[in-house]
Amino acid sequence: MGRTMKLVRTIALLAVLTVTAFVVPTSAVQPTDVSLVKIRHADGVAVGGQDVIWILAVGSDARPGQVMTRSRGDALQLVGINTRTGSATAIGVPRDSWVAIPGHGREKINSALYFAGPRGMAGAMRNLVGIEPDYVLVTRFPFFEDMVDDIGGITVANPRPFQDPYLKKEGFKKGRIHLDGYNAMAFSRIRKGLAGGDFDRSANQQRTLRGIHARIRSQADRPGFIERGVMTVMAHTDTNASPGELFEIAQAVAQVDPRRITTCVVRGRVGFVGLASVVFPDVAQARRLGREARPDAALRGC
């Protein structure tokens, strides 16, 4: 039995060697056909013939039955996307910032939406930061929740634990946390549990935007993902962008390099106008951020 096995093994070894001799060609004879497949990759998106597009994202606090484009704009992020370099930036503005609203004098910036609609909000933002957005995207918080759920939730990096007795009793842990629609809304809305109040809340909104971007980027090559995303945005927002333009913006977002995202919240001093608590924004800083980001959607500092 042992001799038989030895014989079989010897023959099997010979077979393997023979096969190897056939399979591995000499490099001198077959120069092209045995080369490894080398795959290279390129991507690019050009939207509207300009390198940078600016979108003002507004979270309206409209209650059921209220028109969301004629309510207060509580979450305000001016987002720039550079389709040439893949960089992106978000400049956050605290909702209580005391600014000039075109045709309405000085008011809290969140009331610009109530007084003058999306166009008025864009004007208020231009007065403060110096950048006129190409598009204004207004949504309300329940719609925002639906949109986050529709893309399968997001992951954010939370720098500190915080909670809110009404929106999130058990609170948010420090670290990387996964958020569904409701929790993404709560994470972006809570102010009272944060030491920096409105400023920290605006920074949290930017963390949410990073999470949304990461989710879109990771799923963008799934057939139909971007189309479904655009459909849900169309269903849940009011915007001056056409469906085709939304599609172009979504593809541009998908191609943003997460390492090239810079964010900053406009600083300010808390004070009072009459009895109302307001933020007097650091206009010089806001203008500097606008000047820096306008050409290439990249901030050098905050």
């Binding site: 038989t4 060609p25 056909d33 390129a42 991507d43 690019g44 050009a46 013939g49 057939p223 085709g244």
Partner: protein, 204 residues
Amino acid sequence: MPRPSAGRVHRARRLVGLALVLLVPLTSACQPTAEPSAAPERLSRSDARATLASHSVPTKVGIHRVHGRLPVARRKAVRKDVGRVVDRWWEAAYLGGTYPRSSFPAAFPGFTAAAEQRARADKALLTNQTAGPRIDSVTPRKRSVTLDVLASGRQARAVTAQFVLRFDTSGPRTGTTTVRGRLFLTRPRGAWRVFGYDVAKGAR
């Protein structure tokens, strides 16, 4: 120690022999050859048949899904029109024209002006420019396009075209090239235009 029976040894030898008989044709099939049977006929450098050969495989265009409502007739129109845009790019960038050549001056028909500008910077992938001088002829093997259509108001507004293009090249640069990826199209003034791309290219 009992000796193995002659029959058993014989059977073992037969099994190994059978295995070898089965393996040899397999390995021969896997063995790379300088002139694979599927390779196109090698053409002389002045042979214009390279252009004609590019039309031998039709482009298959299908719809993966329509997001939104779109009447059947318009679905067909989208397939036809977008398929034509993709085809025009493939012809201009890879399959058509005479080889060898190193110049691809009009490789992006159907791209927006801004997308064309981007694409020019990626010509190494989006055309045959790098291998062109070492190619005598190009023969398409697979031309496949699958569309995801975004529709609103019963009109097609945007399309993602997933595609695979595979072609053989002959000449000093003999081999098979696969180009696959996605093209993003909208219809700004009634005509489908490519405004973005995500393309990978590999050759062996």
